[in-house]
Each structure stands twice: as structure tokens, then as C-alpha cells.
Symmetry: D2
Subunit: 118 residues, 4 copies
Amino acid sequence: MNTANMSTPMQGLAQQLQQFADERQWGPYHSPKNLASALVVEAGELLEHFQWLTEAQSRELTPEKKQAVAHEMADVLLYLVQLSTAVGVDLMAAAQDKIVLNAQKYPVTCPVTPPASR
Amino acid sequence: MNTANMSTPMQGLAQQLQQFADERQWGPYHSPKNLASALVVEAGELLEHFQWLTEAQSRELTPEKKQAVAHEMADVLLYLVQLSTAVGVDLMAAAQDKIVLNAQKYPVTCPVTPPASR
Amino acid sequence: MNTANMSTPMQGLAQQLQQFADERQWGPYHSPKNLASALVVEAGELLEHFQWLTEAQSRELTPEKKQAVAHEMADVLLYLVQLSTAVGVDLMAAAQDKIVLNAQKYPVTCPVTPPASR
Amino acid sequence: MNTANMSTPMQGLAQQLQQFADERQWGPYHSPKNLASALVVEAGELLEHFQWLTEAQSRELTPEKKQAVAHEMADVLLYLVQLSTAVGVDLMAAAQDKIVLNAQKYPVTCPVTPPASR
């Protein structure tokens, strides 16, 4: 199978969202500054579902809660992808770069080291 | 080519991150509540790069700024993927569901309608 | 006038909120971790009112928008005050400490220096 | 004591911050849109101190952690006050209005009702 001209799922999603915004002439609203703001707002809506839950409760979500969380997670991803288009960043490549950096920052140790705030 | 057993790039990333966390025994720290918090924190670090820029300046990032923004976007994606594993949500499927919902919420109109806060 | 036993407005507000929560037995939910999460969620709701506005539009809010913004700002303050009670921090004193630190970090210069991301 | 011309502590803080910004000619950067963004960024830095702590650990902060949290809380308050000046909102009055609304939204019941996400 010749994959040379096939877009990845992430690229396909980016194109879908670009078309969605173009059809509605939302370009002027989609400055990177605004998209980053919208992303934070959605991240807050995602966190809201967990704010009064204990950590244990958060590991056992009801089906309704899981569905609501899925919607907010999708909202975050959609703005992240639109921002990646707006600033010209390859999200999946950036993810791989960050994993390499994280492996250096958090080497596997014995005994293990907890995650730390930066 | 038989694609039946091939994981998508997103699934591959999820497995990579699961292994990364397992090697460091970070499971106890990775409650969905904590992962959602970490995601919001990274989204704030992303927004920080834009807070004093005008919208116009945000459309013309310097190479250094673009690199810094790429790192923060990767951080957001990594927590989003780890959260999707923790709660059992298929991110790309949830994204498609949300696009369908958004198309109903924001139909293409003449004249066009600006994006509205929810 | 003997002010020795008079509480400041901020202390009065903190007592009001403590009583409000006690009457509803919300103590178990009000861990500092949860209160900090709730504060971020409200800050996101505040930002949502500005996400599609230009900076110029944000300087000329309609009365309805200004009222909505006032409510969200109050929500942020209420969680900030409840968090200050929960962790034992004097908010107004901490504000003065921070102003002193900021004056050292951003001395008045000629020509002036723009605010920078930390 | 004639209190007619005495400013409240909050008004005094607002004036202090206005002067601080004027001395540095930061006015052009302090659109309400930007101040709301900066507030969210600081709220995220505050949450970062709690993201890997359990709720129980968050109730027993070390002196260093408490100091760091105090600084971030002050950062949030400073932007909240600057935003209140920029949009013309009386923060303490808005707080009282919100308490009245909250009392209607969450009446004292028997048995008591937990706080709910909006």
C-alpha cells in the first residue's frame, strides 16, 4: 500500500476543523491567542467534573460522568488541533520530542522518583 | 496491507505513555482527578506565552516562541492522552462525536454567526 | 474609635464564608486541593467572557457582560478567600509581600520595560 | 472617627497597583482580556502546587509549600484587583451579591446537600 499521499488521522482532523471554521468564516476569531484562551476554558470545564470528587471516585466514574468528561476532552483536543494549525506545529511530532525530553528529566531510577511540579 | 492488528498513532502514543508511567511507578499519582489538574496547569503554561501579546503578534510568533509553544502543546496532549487511558475514552472518536454536535449547534448560516461562549 | 477588636473587611468575608460552608457541612469537600481546583474552574469561566473579544472590545464591555464578569470575579474571590482560610494564609499581607517582590523584579526604568512572562 | 474619606483596604490595594502599573507604563498591556488571561495563568501556577498531592496532604502543607502557595494566591489577588479596576467592578460588593445568590442556590437543608458542579 502506497501511503505517500495518505494523511494521518491527526492531519485529517486538522483539515476537518479548518473546513468547519472556513464554512463559518471564523478565521478572524481564531488568532492563536484566542485559541489558547478557548483551550484553557475547556480544560477548566473538564476539571470541573472532578473538582468535588475524591481521587478514588475519579477512578470509578458513572457512565453519565464519563460521557460528560469525554465531551470536554474532545473540546480540548479540537482547540489544541486548531491551535496547531494556526501556529504551524506538528502535534504528534512535538509529543515525541517531549517524551524524549521527559525521559531525560525523569530517568528510570531505583527506587523510583515521584512526578514533580516543574 | 492487513491493518486489522495495527494500532493508530493515537493508540501507539497512549501505549508509549502507559509504559513510561509504569516504568516509573507513577500509577498511584495518575488518578483522573490529578491528570485533569495537570492538564489545566499545562494549558495555563501554554496561555502564558500569549498573555501579553496582541492577537496580531500571536499570528506572527518568533521561532523561539513557536518552539516554546510547541512544547506546551505537547504537554497538554500528553496529559490528555494519559487521561483518556485512565477514564477509558477514545479521544479521536470523541472528537468526531463533538464535531457532529458542533455542526448542529453552529449550522452554516447566511450571514454567518460568530462563535459564542457556551 | 478602638479598632483593636474590629475585623478587616477581608477577615469578615472569610468568617462569612466559613459559616456558610459549616451550615451546609461542606468541610469534607473543602480540602485545599479541591478549593484550588474550584478557583481555576471559576477563573476559566471568567476568561470565557473574553475569549472571542478583541482587546479593544474588552475595554468597552456592555452592561450585561460587565455584570456577568462581576459574578465570575466574585466566584474567584470567594474561592481564594476560602482557600486562604484552609491553608492559613493572610491574603492582604501576602499581597503586600508580593508587591515588594514585584518592585524588585520590575524596577522602574528609563525607558520602561514591558511585563514579561515568568 | 470620621471614616467618610478613608479608603477600604481593597481600594487602597487597587490604588497601589494602579500606581505600580502607571510608573512602568503597563497600561497598554492591561486590557481586561489580558488581565483575565494573566489571572488564569496564576491560578494554574497555584493549582500546580497541589496537582500530585492527595487531598489529605493538601491539608498538611510544609512551611515551604505554604509559602509558595501564599505567593501564588497573592498573584491571583493582584490580577483580580487590577481587573476590577479595568472593568469598574467593586470586588467586595460583588462578593456580597454572590453570597446572596449562593444562599438561594444552596439553601441550608436537612439532610445537607453537597456542593455541585454548575
